[in-house]
């Protein structure tokens, strides 16, 4: 999948949701990372074709999504904050998907996502997590060229979130927006970091993890390490260190573990 944008901008009255975005990403799974209000959902709404940009253009595999007449079939979209005031049962939703020849994976996903446990519940009585699972079922069970997921695991417990991330990491043509750096690193192979409607960092996994910096988890919060500490996030530190020294400290029980610094570092550095 090739996703690209050229001088892309979307405004809401006088405020720009995103402005002057230019990038070209070649990836099977693309992650947009950013804090709340950074413009992720706005960019996703253009990439999913549900709104036209104010300036510039966006393309997925060479076509502009908002210009395609069959965009609802080639792109499946799952948005954040699912609140469905729909007076029907989950079973009704499942029956519609079963009747759709483009959705062959419905029954398998119902079991995997645990939706079979609340088939008889009305959709307007579901918890936000259960509603999110229904939302994901609609997006993931049907064949499409691109799947766009906005904060897919935001309302899910860690067990279900893990299952969803595993499902996403096996698919191709996925664009995901998240503020969870672990989720981004778990599923994506190309990253766009956004702040205040602008791109501040882009790159693939190789670029992301090649920094030579490490993300360290302390056994006890507040401990000082004998390394140059670049950023501190509670018990998680971004440090510049020798890998052998880190192994030694882990064996001594000073640190719980470490890994190459990834999205958290790139995100903090681009501030």
């Amino acid at each position: 999948m090739i996703v690209e944008a050229e001088n892309l901008g979307v405004n809401y009255g006088r405020t720009w949701g995103i402005k002057d975005l230019t990038f070209k990403a070649k990836a099977e799974r693309l992650a947009l990372i950013g804090h709340n209000g950074s413009g992720k959902t706005t960019l996703l709404s253009v990439l999913s074709g549900i709104r036209h940009p104010t300036t510039g253009s966006a393309r997925i595999n060479g076509w502009e999504p908002y210009r395609r007449k069959d965009k609802w079939i080639v792109i499946r979209y799952s948005f954040e904050k699912p609140q469905f005031r729909i007076p029907v049962k989950v079973r009704d939703l499942v029956e519609i998907l079963r009747a759709n020849p483009m959705c062959p994976e419905v029954d398998e996903l119902i079991e995997v996502l645990g939706i079979s446990q609340f088939l008889e519940r009305r959709i307007d009585s579901l918890s936000s997590g259960q509603a999110q699972l229904c939302n994901l079922l609609v997006a993931l069970s049907c064949n499409s060229e691109v799947v766009i997921l906005d904060e897919p695991t935001a309302h899910l417990d860690s067990y279900r979130a893990g299952i969803v991330d595993e499902l996403i990491s096996k698919r191709k043509g996925v664009i995901i927006a998240t503020h969870d750096v672990e989720e981004g690193e778990a599923v994506a192979d190309y990253f766009l970091i956004m702040k205040e409607g602008r791109l501040v960092w882009t790159g693939d996994r190789k670029k992301l993890f090649s920094s030579g910096f490490y993300e360290v988890t302390l056994v006890e919060t507040g401990l000082q390490l004998p390394f140059e500490t670049l950023y501190r996030f509670g018990a998680t530190l971004i440090v510049k260190a020798d890998v052998n020294e880190l192994v030694e400290m882990m064996l001594k029980g000073v640190i719980a573990g470490f890994k190459r610094a990834g999205l958290r570092y790139a995100y903090a550095k681009s501030s």
């Binding site: 959902t41 706005t42 549900i50 079939i73 979209y77 729909i86």
Partner: protein, 226 residues
């Protein structure tokens, strides 16, 4: 196939209990008693109670079923592979809902000996449907409900005041009367610049055009899911 499923999806729980039963009962009783002595006392009561209050409230009850947030609309469009099935499903469910209410009141008017009045009540079906569908496309649910009530209740009340004046009304106001207050317009047809048949024809054409416009707008609509 998916359009049939969409119609089924939207007609489920279209008539929530007991609100619909109570409202239908109230409409039938009000229509019956307000028309009972209409020959002697006129249609004032019937117009105010049925056209300006009960039918708009009933219309809102039906309309809230199709006035859905952008998030729900997006979810349903994804579910039904596009906006066409969603629009047709909503149109059909709103039509079914309106038919039940309008036919009940029209039947009362007919058996009370006012077939012309029954016709004007049935004209509410296409006009309400047109207003519902265009509001559904352009406004959020709360804005749609408020606008629907203004257009179907407040405006007919205002038109009623105009129709009490002795002088005839111009073509534009006459058209508006037939579209938004067909019962009033039929009762006071002699004060309007358009005949009943012309008014009904234009209203029907206008309603169909608005529904078509709503359909095209819905297909081209940009969404903001935030």
């Amino acid at each position: 196939m998916l359009t049939q499923k969409a119609v089924k999806w939207y007609t489920k729980n279209l008539f929530p209990h007991p609100a619909t039963e109570i409202l239908l009962g109230l409409m039938i009783l009000s229509a019956w008693y307000s028309l009972k002595d209409a020959q002697k006392l006129g249609f004032y009561e019937f117009i105010i109670i049925v056209e300006a209050v009960l039918l708009p409230v009933y219309g809102i009850l039906v309309a809230t079923h199709v006035f859905r947030s952008q998030r729900v609309t997006l979810f349903e469009i994804t579910l039904f592979n596009g906006p066409e099935s969603v629009f047709l499903g909503r149109l059909t469910s709103a039509l079914l809902g309106l038919i039940v209410g309008a036919f009940c009141v029209a039947f009362i008017a007919y058996i009370q000996g006012y077939p012309k009045l029954a016709g004007s009540i049935l004209l509410k079906i296409p006009t309400y449907l047109a207003i519902m569908m265009i509001l559904m496309v352009w406004l959020d649910p709360i804005g749609s409900v408020i606008s629907f009530y203004i257009l179907t209740s407040a405006v007919p009340m205002g038109l009623y005041v105009l129709l009490t004046k002795p002088y005839p009304l111009n073509t534009a106001i006459s058209l508006l009367s037939y579209f938004l207050a067909p019962i009033e317009a039929t009762v006071n047809a002699r004060k309007l610049s358009l005949s009943v048949s012309a008014g009904y024809t234009v209203t029907l054409i206008f309603s169909v055009l608005i529904i078509l416009l709503a359909y095209i707008s819905f297909k081209k609509k940009d969404f903001e899911p935030q």
